[in-house]
């Protein structure tokens, strides 16, 4: 047992530029920057989440985004209890890749919990969001806890996705 707290590893997975780092920064540091800074490797942040009566230390692995030339590092996914799979609503191909990321994560962690974050809601219309939410591949309750339109810029639903995942993996 490490420390006196329960610690769990979760990963943020998705294409490059979908806003994974921004979601973590919003959740952990309560801040946001419009400037794009590519993550390489992995950045691990700690955040204590109170889930009455317990508290849980989340070790949040912000993974380098996948691109045409570089896939997600499987080793980094090892041992994760859950994942937030992120897509950028303003880039259709990132939504299309969600299914691949879900599959990759579950292959390595068959019992892992998944939440899908449809990020950057501030850039698109509510009709477009509703359209994506209806996609059948995102509506499999055996794999996915929920699909949430989020905005790291406005903070919409950011705390909810982390908290919901924390409760599920505790």
């Amino acid at each position: 047992m490490v420390d006196h707290k329960v610690s769990k590893k979760i990963c943020l997975v998705g294409d490059f530029g979908v806003g994974k780092t921004s979601l973590v920064r919003r959740f952990v540091d309560r801040s946001f920057s419009d400037q794009y800074l590519t993550t390489v490797g992995v950045k691990i942040s700690r955040k204590l989440v109170e889930i009455n009566p317990q508290s849980l230390q989340l070790l949040i692995w912000d993974l380098e985004g996948s691109s045409k030339f570089k896939a997600i590092s499987a080793t980094h996914l090892q041992g994760a209890s859950g994942a937030i799979i992120v897509a950028d609503l303003s880039r259709a191909e990132t939504v299309k890749h969600l299914e691949d990321h879900i599959h990759t994560f579950l292959t390595i962690n068959p019992k892992g919990m998944i939440i899908v974050a449809l990020n950057k809601t501030d850039l698109v219309t509510t009709e477009a969001i509703a359209q994506v939410q209806k996609m059948p591949e995102l509506n499999d309750p055996t794999k996915i806890l929920g699909v949430y339109p989020t905005s790291a810029k406005t903070g919409d639903s950011v705390d909810q996705i982390f908290t919901k995942l924390a409760i599920a993996i505790l």
Binding site: D3, V40, I44, F69, R91
Partner: protein
């Protein structure tokens, strides 16, 4: 850790940890804390996961290595964010023994600083991702634009300045019947030979285009220039819509409108004919009634005859009004523009209706702002028609009180004409209906006051024709103000006010009249001519003025207040009404005074003042019965085919003392003329054998060689203005419309007898 490994790791800057199967640190290199997340927790005997959180969750993997399930594990690119400088590390985890054993289990974790490599990788990835994001954004924008072009329902064509087609959307392909590849890079002349390069952009042009199947379309294009950074290579974009069907609809509409207009003209002609057909027998009815009224009758018979006469006249008015309105609505009436005397026009209307007003004991005053020009350009007849309507309504609906006709400048329009009465007034609910045809305030009004309800509708149409405004303000029980504002030019300075101004400067005028409006009217006019004006509303005030002031130069007084002895030695103008009582009183009065009938006309008032002040022979200007010269006996030829009308007219003419011969048609007229001569020919226009126009033309032809000219007066039931013009054009001298009254024909004969 043996010395050899330490020696190998040192030059590479690598550090290591040795951990037990419980993940406790059992050995470590000196600098390994540098790579920890929490350096303080890295001590021998401590859990390695406290300082290196990337190991949390990796426990199963570590156990597999420890027990030989797998050989090693690499964790690459772990970023330490707690450092001042960026730090990236790679972790290599291996089993500590060649053969796993139960006694001496341990794991070795090697740490390597890969910051330089990772920073380079970051910089490369950053650039590559930014470029990819930009491309993605551009692609999305381009896709969206392409979708717009494709989805656009109108035909879109992009053409280079030299006329080559660069882009064409599906709507354009469908419109012209070509495939995309058949048009791209082809000259625009393939679809239109018209000039489609306007001088200025954006511009809308309508051109004929040819489809692939050679059929012709009319397309309306809006064309604009696509501005680019490089000058001179701007393309042109055309968005076109097929107008062929719309043009066809427009053409059909025009056709329908023409037909409707023709139908309307036919209707109007029908009405005019109807009116003519009705007028002819009406002439008989009214004429014979008039003749009958002139015979000896029992009182009851006379009453009935009066009834017939009144009803007949009312019927004639209704026919005239319906004809007027139908012509106005058919757009057959035009507003004319000619110079006329504003004062004469208004005062003539007031004069004409004054006997009616005075007969009801109503005061009638007409005030024309002296600053208005006398001469106006416009349609006098139509203005007169509107004012006559207003004024006769005012008289009709006023039982007690006064009526004022007010003509004033209207800053917005030109000149405003108001008729203000103290009549029954109109309620707010019915006031809006007033100007629509066949509408009176309510049915009880129609019953009590009569009329067709067409008068104001006609006035409205006439006003619109003259670009004016018409309206009414009214209060039930208090009276109404009907007004019309017409766009007359009031700026030309022909007002004779300037020439009259100050001509009576320094002279005093005393106005004695119980009627406030009359005093105001006389004062206003007189002051504009330079008089000092004093007013007295009764005898006492007049006497008081005379006792306290020097004698005035002139007194204008109403008849009832004229018998003040103190006035006897002064020049006096007595204002009378046109009712029989006043006239009798005026005639009975033996004085040196001048008489001026109400309503007061500006020019008449001025003339009377001049006479009263300067005439040294006052007896000449007393009211004398007019000397009527005995009328000249005329030899008249009556051309008329209707027997009843022959009888009416000939009896009338004979009663007036003239001799009459009758011709049934034009040919008979010519025959009679060959043996006789006549002072005047009364010529019906529509007669069998030879009509009035042709007959007149022949007479004029014959007379031209003989060097003489017989007066020919047209008598016709056609009441339109064009008919009158036709009569005069065919050589007739004047025009009398049927049915005519004794007074009208008498006046007409008098007029021409002089010549």
């Amino acid at each position: 850790m043996n010395f050899l490994i330490k020696k190998l790791l040192e030059p590479k800057g690598m550090e290591y940890l040795s951990i037990t199967k419980d993940l406790m640190i059992e050995d470590m290199s000196y600098g390994v804390k540098r790579f920890a997340d929490l350096a303080d927790t890295v001590e021998i005997g401590q859990d390695c996961r406290l300082g290196y959180p990337e190991l949390i969750g990796m426990e199963n993997m570590l156990m597999q290595i420890l027990w030989g399930g797998s050989s090693s594990l690499e964790l690459k690119g772990i970023s330490r964010t707690n450092q001042k400088q960026p730090l990236y590390i790679d972790l290599y985890i291996l089993g500590g023994q060649e053969q796993p054993n139960l006694i001496n289990h341990n794991l070795l974790i090697f740490f390597e600083d890969v910051t330089d490599r990772m920073l380079l990788e970051q910089s490369l990835a950053q650039r590559s991702h930014e470029a990819a994001l930009l491309l993605s954004s551009l692609t999305a924008t381009k896709d969206y634009l392409q979708k717009i072009v494709t989805a656009i329902a109108d035909a879109l064509i992009v053409v280079t300045k030299s006329g080559a087609i660069k882009t064409i959307n599906p709507a354009a392909q469908e419109l012209f019947g070509y495939r995309e590849d058949e048009l791209i890079n082809q000259p625009i002349s393939l679809i239109t030979s018209s000039h489609i390069f306007p001088d200025t952009y954006p511009q809308t042009i309508e051109v004929n285009c040819q489809k692939k199947d050679t059929s012709i379309l009319t397309v309306a294009f809006s064309c604009s220039i696509i501005q680019t950074e490089v000058a001179g290579i701007d393309d042109l974009v055309y968005i076109g819509r097929d107008m062929t069907e719309q043009l066809q609809i427009q053409e059909n509409l025009n056709l329908a409108r023409t037909k409707a207009e023709e139908a309307s003209q036919t209707k109007s002609l029908f009405l005019a004919n109807m009116s003519h057909e009705i007028r002819t027998p009406m002439n008989g009815v009214l004429g014979l009634t008039e003749l009958l009224a002139g015979t000896t009758l029992e009182p009851v018979q006379r009453e009935f005859i009066e009834g017939i006469r009144t009803s007949g006249r009312n019927l004639l008015t209704i026919i005239n009004e319906i004809l007027d309105l139908s012509k106005l609505e058919a757009g057959q009436v035009q507003a004319e523009e000619y110079e006329f005397d504003l004062r004469n026009c208004v005062e003539d209307v007031v004069d004409l209706l004054a006997p009616l007003a005075h007969g009801k004991n109503l005061e009638l005053t007409c005030m024309i702002n002296p600053n208005l020009p006398i001469s106006i350009w416009g349609d006098r007849a139509k203005l007169g028609q509107i004012l006559t309507n207003f004024l006769s309504n005012a008289i009709k609906f006023t039982a007690v009180g006064e009526i004022i006709v007010l003509v004033e400048p209207d800053l917005e329009t030109g000149i405003n004409f108001s008729v203000i009465d103290q009549g029954i007034g109109i309620s707010a609910e019915t006031i809006n209906k007033l100007f629509t045809p066949f509408t009176q305030a309510d049915n009880s009004t129609t019953r009590k006051y009569g009329g067709t309800g067409l008068g104001l509708a006609i006035c409205k149409q006439l006003t619109q024709l003259m670009d004016g405004k018409i309206g009414v303000e009214s209060k039930v029980g208090e009276g109404s103000r009907f007004w019309v504002s017409l766009p007359y030019d009031t700026n030309h300075a022909d007002s004779d006010h300037q020439s009259q101004e100050f001509r009576f400067s320094g002279q005093t005028l005393l106005v004695v009249d119980s009627h406030t409006t009359t005093r105001w009217l006389v004062s206003t006019y007189a002051q504009s001519w330079g008089f000092n004006v004093a007013e007295a509303s009764n005898k006492e005030e007049a006497l008081d003025f005379l006792a306290t002031h020097p004698a005035p130069d002139l007194v204008i007084t109403e008849l009832a207040l004229a018998n003040i002895p103190e006035l006897n030695h002064l020049p006096v103008i007595i204002v009378t009404r046109t009712n029989p009582e006043d006239t009798q009183l005026a005639i009975a009065r033996n004085s040196d005074s001048y008489f001026l009938p109400k309503p007061l006309r500006l020019t008449r008032l001025l003339k009377s003042i001049e006479n009263a002040l300067y005439d040294h022979l006052p007896t000449q200007s007393r009211v004398n019965p007019p000397s009527t010269p005995s009328p000249k006996i005329l030899n008249i030829l009556l051309a008329e085919d209707n027997i009843i009308n022959q009888k009416v007219a000939s009896t009338l003419l004979k009663n007036l003392g003239h001799t009459v011969e009758i011709a049934d048609n034009g040919a008979e007229v010519l025959k009679l003329l060959s043996n006789n001569s006549y002072d005047i020919i009364l010529m019906d226009c529509q007669m069998p054998v030879l009509d009035g126009f042709a007959t007149t033309a022949q007479i004029r032809q014959q007379e031209a060689s003989a060097g003489m000219r017989t007066i020919i007066i047209a008598v016709t039931a056609n009441a339109m203005k064009e008919d009158k013009e036709q009569c005069l054009a065919s050589g007739m001298d004047d025009y009398l419309s049927k049915p005519f009254y004794k007074t009208e024909i008498e006046a007409m004969l008098k007029k021409w007898a002089k010549s």
